[in-house]
């Protein structure tokens, strides 16, 4: 991977977006729920930087990072959607769990665990039928890999050699269920062998490592050699959603993973000192504040338009 300040900034933007989301929620300025990916930014940005414009993305309910890491993402439209405004990516109809940027082939976050997996096979089939060199990436969690949909989708992609990267973002917990309790194997990537495809496990907190694995997987897909299962091991710092008391894990475990924070880790690779990092943090913060201002000054959807868009 070619290292870049932009990659670091992108991770920090995701972090700042979610910290602001958390704050807005605590202050009662946002209605609804959200799922934060704080601590997992390297997986999202490693994925985004490895793909090409024109590729497709399907992601998860914990998807702020994936969307912000994808091509052409606009943090103002993200924030507006998060705050339920007409100017948001989905005109305030989707919210945090359903943010999509269809114009950039980001086919959306998904509120259903594993919900994007069957559709990803169709995206791959469509690419193959249209004979383009696009690739579809479907991001899902460790919980989703125990859904039947995972197996149906990977099987189909394997027999038809579809250009789909199955990126399992293993953040160790499906709500309160630990992956070590819900699966009898050490690495989710081992499941690839059951379908005769390549499976790779990567350190999901190492941006460059994620990037390189994803870039290699994308090259394999573009060469017509079929799907790849990538497992990025990372950790969710926050609770599942806003109501989580986190009784299923210890404080020590969380602190231990926080020592592996992907942001300072990558800033060291770039040779940043604390002063440069702080300057960048301020710059990102200003962008987030501008996004909040944009969102809060945007209109809410008209109730009279509630039935618009049910059918095309």
């Amino acid at each position: 991977m070619i290292h870049s300040d932009a990659h670091l900034r992108r991770m920090m933007l995701i972090r700042a977006f979610e910290e602001k989301a958390e704050e807005l929620y605590a202050l009662g300025r946002v209605h609804g729920t959200m799922h934060l990916s704080i601590g997992q930014e390297a997986t999202a940005v490693g994925m985004g930087t490895a793909m090409r414009e024109g590729d497709y993305l399907l992601n998860t309910h914990r998807g702020h990072g994936h969307c912000l890491a994808w091509f052409g993402s606009d943090v103002r439209l993200m924030m507006a959607e998060f705050m339920g405004r007409e100017t948001g990516y989905c005109r305030g109809r989707g919210g945090s769990m359903h943010i999509a940027n269809v114009d950039a082939n980001n086919l959306g976050a998904n509120g259903i665990v594993g919900g994007g997996l069957p559709m990803a096979a169709g995206v791959g089939l469509s690419i193959k039928m249209r004979k383009t060199d696009q690739v579809g990436v479907v991001v899902f969690g460790d919980g989703a890999n125990n859904e039947g949909a995972f197996h149906e989708s990977v099987n189909l992609a394997s027999i038809w050699k579809l250009p789909v990267i199955y990126l399992c973002e293993n953040n160790q917990y499906a709500m309160s269920m630990a992956i070590r309790k819900s699966s009898n194997i050490a690495d989710i990537s081992q499941r690839a062998s059951a379908y005769g495809i390549r499976g790779v496990t990567v350190d999901g907190n190492d941006l460059a490592a994620v990037h390189d694995v994803m870039a290699e997987a994308a090259a394999q897909c573009r060469a017509g050699e079929g799907p790849v299962l990538v497992e990025a091991k990372t950790y969710r710092w926050r609770g599942h959603s806003k109501s989580d008391r986190q009784l299923y894990r210890t404080r020590e475990e969380v602190l231990d993973w926080q020592k592996r924070d992907p942001i300072p880790r990558y800033s060291k690779v770039l040779g940043y000192d604390e002063a440069r990092l702080e300057a960048l943090r301020k710059d990102v913060q200003a962008e987030i504040e501008a996004a909040v201002s944009f969102a809060e000054s945007s209109p809410e959807p008209e109730v009279s338009a509630i039935l618009e868009g049910v059918y095309a």
Binding site: L58, G115, V123, M129, A149, L156, E308
Partner: protein, 328 residues
Amino acid sequence: MRELTYAEALREGLRQAMRADARVFVMGEDVGIYGGAFGVTNGMLEEFGAERIIDTPISEAVIAGACIGAALTGMRPVGEIQFMDFVTLSMEQLVLQAAKIRYMFGGKASVPMVLRMPGGSGTGAAAQHSESLENWFVNVPGLKVVMPSTPYDAKGLLLAAIDDPNPVIFIEHKLLYKTKGPVPEEAYRVPLSQSVVVRPGAHVTVVATSIMVPRALEAATTLAGEGIELEVVDPRTLAPLDAGPIIASARKTGKVLVVHEAPERGGFGGEVVACIAASEAFDFLEAPIRRLAGLDVPIPYNRNLERAAVPQVEDIVREARRLARGEY
């Protein structure tokens, strides 16, 4: 006019759609060399090849999901679920993804797909191969639900469904596949959401869906001999429903019988009854609106029990006659 069977009419519609548009393809279990469990895609593999007549593993969730993913990215998939019963395995993708994507993405995406499936009983296949689940889908905004009752409508509605930019659940009936009727050779369309009066009559309105339409017409012939004229209305598209012709007919006859194969409880008939009762036709009603539907029972195996579980011609004759004679 030339006559085709319902299955042949569907096949001709599929062929014409695929010849006209390279984005259209067929996908499902045993649709290729086998020709589909009910023969609808018979011979299509030879014309279009395995790239466009695609055999899938037995994976109903991913058949539905692959249709959605392909539809979102520029294709026009026509999926087949081998028996409607098996669509229970596709429900998450249809209800939570296909139906909602356009709305929850603020109208910025569309899912132009058709999912064909044979429903209904009468083949002795018992409880897990005889379901009529149409009303599950009627209750999901974002989906369209189509149930053709004739070869003519089968072809015309299928072509319209393939053109439609929304997900369409296209429900065929196993017992109708071999029925024959006039079918024009050209690629005509029967518009979605257009109910039709298939037989005019003065005394009783019968609103019937799918196989209950030919049964209602047969009942109408019998009752005509007694001087009772039935007006038979076929909604053809259950959702979004074109209630206008149903309400107009109820207003005209003042007596309404709603007939479908699916169980009565929570069925489509209740929706039709409510549409009429809430309309200007209410003041013209001369009798309670009656429903004749499947019994609230799993479809039994035994021939006599299976027959007794869903409305037959004689049941429609009996109910319509009682309505006409003012016995309700």
